[in-house]
């Protein structure tokens, strides 16, 4: 048993941290947040150049073929820097969908383009309010074309391809759901950006009108593939979340040491110290749970469904707590546009919803624990 990353993995993480500290200071996040750009192209290309985007993509598909533990440490650094790039949509969702369900030709076409930073991908799952559910999928697939609307779709307005969950039949069973791959440049899709709480990562409404699509994976297994995909993405995004949580905690700690009130650093008051201690506790528990998730993902262990839901719930709690208390420790300054606190607050709340709400994952976790206990 060993519950830590290896020296090589930590070295990779260190490399990614230094790289992002240089290439992705808060000013870069703000450029996208303030609408000057829909994502940071230079940063995206540079991440690809470092081999970070394709770290877990097999070599024969243009990646580094390293593994998921390596991808987890990269995800943590992306989250820490709030990188305004389509990482979660492309790497955590679209690439994973291709890897678990794609044909050889589909992988050959898109995975090398992801690794090189040339293609942005996404998952189009949601159709308005609500959590992941087979019944909620109305977008129709028939005769090789899709008709319907998906929203919100992460990075949908900048995506080159999308994995789309669609209804193929009317039996009312989960086997009516299939996954489809759509080339966004081939016509038939109208993408409209929509405002969201974290503009440093875009969201869009996609309208499909007789849009040509190819099947991804078996036609009747779309729903179970999707659940597996969400578990895998949950672990990877948990690492983005713990990276962000740690940084928000550090910002709060640094400010508490620096800011003087009543003749003392505010970090010497127990009200502040205890708030920071609770943030540390939450971030630490989330990190440990995420390591469990990383192990399950990297070994494709039977524990993955339980580990993914555990990591997801825990990392969501930690990032939200650290981000909101970071503002609180900063007081009035924390509520200004000028200070960076709101960037973490926005991202923490956007990521908390990205794969379905906290209550959805809590529910999933209890189902999975029941199954384990029954076994």
């Amino acid at each position: 048993m060993n519950f830590e990353f290896s020296a090589e993995q930590k070295e990779l993480q260190d490399q990614a941290r230094k790289f992002l500290a240089e290439k992705c200071p808060p000013r870069v996040v703000r450029n996208v947040l303030e609408g000057k750009d829909s994502y940071d192209r230079d940063l995206w290309k540079a991440l690809a150049g470092m081999g970070f985007l394709g770290v877990s993509i097999p070599e024969k598909f243009g990646g580094a073929g390293a593994g998921y533990l390596e991808l987890c440490v990269i995800a943590e650094e992306i989250g820490r820097a709030l990188a305004p790039v389509p990482f979660a949509s492309t790497v955590c969702l679209a690439a994973e969908a291709l890897l678990i369900a794609g044909s050889e030709a589909q992988k050959q076409k898109w995975l090398p383009a992801i690794a090189s930073g040339e293609a942005i991908g996404t998952l189009a799952l949601f159709e308005g309010s609500g959590n992941p559910s087979a019944n909620a999928i109305k977008l129709a697939a028939s005769g090789g074309v899709l008709n319907g609307v998906k929203k919100p779709v992460p990075d949908g307005a900048i995506a080159d391809f999308a994995i789309v969950a669609a209804r193929t039949g009317s039996s009312g069973r989960e086997s009516d759901i299939g996954l489809f791959l759509v080339d966004m440049k081939a016509g038939g899709v109208d993408a409209k950006p929509i405002d969201n709480i974290d503009p440093s990562r875009g969201q869009a409404e996609l309208t499909f009108r007789d849009c040509k699509a190819e099947l991804l994976g078996p036609a009747d297994e779309g729903w179970s593939l999707l659940l597996h995909l969400l578990d895998r993405a949950a672990v990877l995004i948990a690492f983005e979340q713990i990276g962000g949580a740690d940084r928000a905690l550090e910002m709060a700690r640094d400010y508490a040491l620096d800011r003087i009130a009543f003749g003392r650093p505010i970090g010497s008051f127990q009200a502040i110290k205890h708030m920071l201690a609770d943030m540390y506790v939450s971030a630490t528990l989330a990190r440990s749970n995420s390591y469990f998730g990383a192990w399950a993902l990297s070994t494709n262990a039977g524990e993955l469904p339980e580990a993914a839901a555990t990591a997801r719930v825990s990392a969501t709690q930690a990032f939200q707590l650290c981000a909101k208390n970071n503002i609180q420790v900063h007081g009035g300054m924390g509520f200004t546009w000028e200070f960076d606190c709101h960037l973490y607050y926005r991202r923490s709340n956007a990521l908390a919803l990205a794969l379905g709400s906290q209550s959805y994952w809590e529910d999933a976790l209890i189902d999975r624990l029941r199954r384990k206990n029954a076994a």
Binding site: M1, N2, F3, E4, F5, S6, L69, R253, A256, L257, R264, P265, G267, S268, Q270, I272, K273, H274, L276, A277, D278, Y280, V281, T284, L285, A286, R287, S288, N289, Y291, F292, A294, W295, A296, S298, T299, A301, T310, V313, S314, Q317, S359, W361, E362, D363, L365, I366, L369, R370, N373
Partner: protein
């Protein structure tokens, strides 16, 4: 990263499993499974005697104090092997509570400061459970502020004469020995005038008085010292160095990381899985599931945090104050879980008669004992201070008494 066993670990686990299967007190298994966590009181047998018998058996089989060196009664096992042992020991581990302070705190302090002859004399008997040890640190006027203690030790030839009072001494009434921190110089600031000893609890002048707790049980004691003579050979560390010796003791407490902290989660999960409400099983209720999920991730987060600390220990790193989070989280979690379990039972949740209450009043017992988990061994507030100051690097509290000679510090009677 590998959450599974290596082949050697799997072989070790197998050996442990076989030994436990052949030697554990199986006749107590059912009762132990049902007993409230943390505060075990068996009905069918004397709990202390059952614990001693299990400890003795483990010692004879070479399974006691696993991480201690063999010459002192241990096994020289690795930290990971200790965790494997704890996982496999399961419910029988509930019998260990009388021995935890000796194994985790007193023994390691003796190893660091006692003479070789004393180590060979005392440690194996501690490991076998024949002689139980306790810790005599807290006093009525110094709880969280332990360095404010007043028990005096004064030199008298080759002996020291001790007068004073200790409190919250777990197991003092059945302990053979204890480690005792005293004030030997009241004219210097409080941390500097302390000296550590070990003391025979049967010495003339030692009086142990049980404290009736808020939950009705008696596990803690007051211990009075009246002209108790302790030979200088039982001093641990130099005169005036008692504070640093106590830090060794506390650091060793952290070394016992990986030990399972009771949270009550599995008990609640099992309870919710079988409790019928008018809307079906409790676990099918959305609100209940949300609460359970929150506790589930805390429970697993604690488990894996302690395992990560273990990996650090295996690499030769010293466990640091970051391990304070275990008790901080587990303590209040158990209290909240107990309250929630009672809430699920409605008015009948107030019934504590084991014959009438759900799961033999397991949660009612937990409710009444749980306040102590947030106080004993460092209050929640002290633990948060430790995390804030020693992990996050925030300034220490303003301490008005730090550099003042002890005998000039204001007290209730002197201000």
């Amino acid at each position: 990263m590998d959450f599974g066993d290596t082949p050697q670990e799997a072989a070790f686990r197998n050996e442990v499993r076989q030994w436990i299967d052949a030697n554990a007190p199986k006749h107590l298994e059912a009762e132990l499974s049902k007993s409230s966590i943390g505060r075990v009181k068996l009905k069918s047998v004397d709990t202390l005697e059952a614990g001693k018998a299990w400890q003795r058996k483990k010692f004879e089989g070479g399974w006691s104090c696993l991480h201690w060196p063999k010459e002192y009664g241990g096994r020289g096992a690795t930290p990971i092997e200790r965790v494997i042992w704890q996982q496999e020991e399961g419910v029988y581990g509930k019998l260990n509570s009388p021995f935890v302070i000796g194994e985790g705190m007193c023994g390691p302090t003796l190893m660091a400061y006692a003479s070789e002859a004393d180590k060979r004399r005392y440690l194996p008997k501690l490991a076998s459970g024949e002689e139980i040890w306790c810790q005599l640190f807290s006093e009525p006027a110094s709880g969280s502020d332990v360095a404010g203690l007043r028990t005096r030790a004064e030199r008298a030839g080759d002996d020291w004469v001790v007068n004073g009072q200790k409190i919250w001494t777990s197991g003092g009434h059945y302990s053979a020995y204890g480690i005792l921190i005293t004030r030997t110089d009241p004219t210097v600031p409080k941390h500097k005038g302390l000296t550590m000893f070990f003391v025979n609890m049967k010495s003339p002048g030692v009086e142990v008085k049980p404290i009736k707790q808020a939950n009705g049980m008696q596990e803690f004691n007051e211990v009075y010292f009246t002209d108790v003579r302790i030979p200088d050979s039982q001093r641990l560390g130099a005169v005036g160095e008692g504070w640093n010796v106590s830090l060794t003791t506390l650091m060793n407490e952290r070394m016992s990381i990986g030990s399972k902290l009771a949270t009550g989660f599995q008990e609640l999960f099992d309870f919710c899985s079988q409790l019928k409400t008018e809307n079906g099983l409790a676990i099918e209720d959305r609100a209940t599931r949300a609460r359970l999920a929150d506790w589930a991730v805390k429970n697993s987060g604690l488990k894996y945090t302690s395992y990560r600390a273990l990996s650090a220990l295996s690499r030769g790193e010293r466990p640091g104050p970051e391990n304070s989070i275990g008790k901080l989280v587990a303590g209040s979690m158990m209290q909240e879980i107990a309250m929630y379990a009672l809430d699920l039972q409605g008015a009948n949740g107030a019934v504590s008669d084991p014959a009438l209450a759900e799961v033999a009043a397991q949660f009612q017992t937990m409710l009444l004992s749980s306040p102590s988990n947030r106080i004993a061994g460092g209050t929640d507030e002290i633990l948060r201070n430790i995390i804030a100051e020693r992990v996050l690097g925030l300034p220490g509290d303003i301490r008005v008494d730090k550099d003042v000679p002890f005998n000039q510090i204001p007290t209730r009677g002197r201000r």
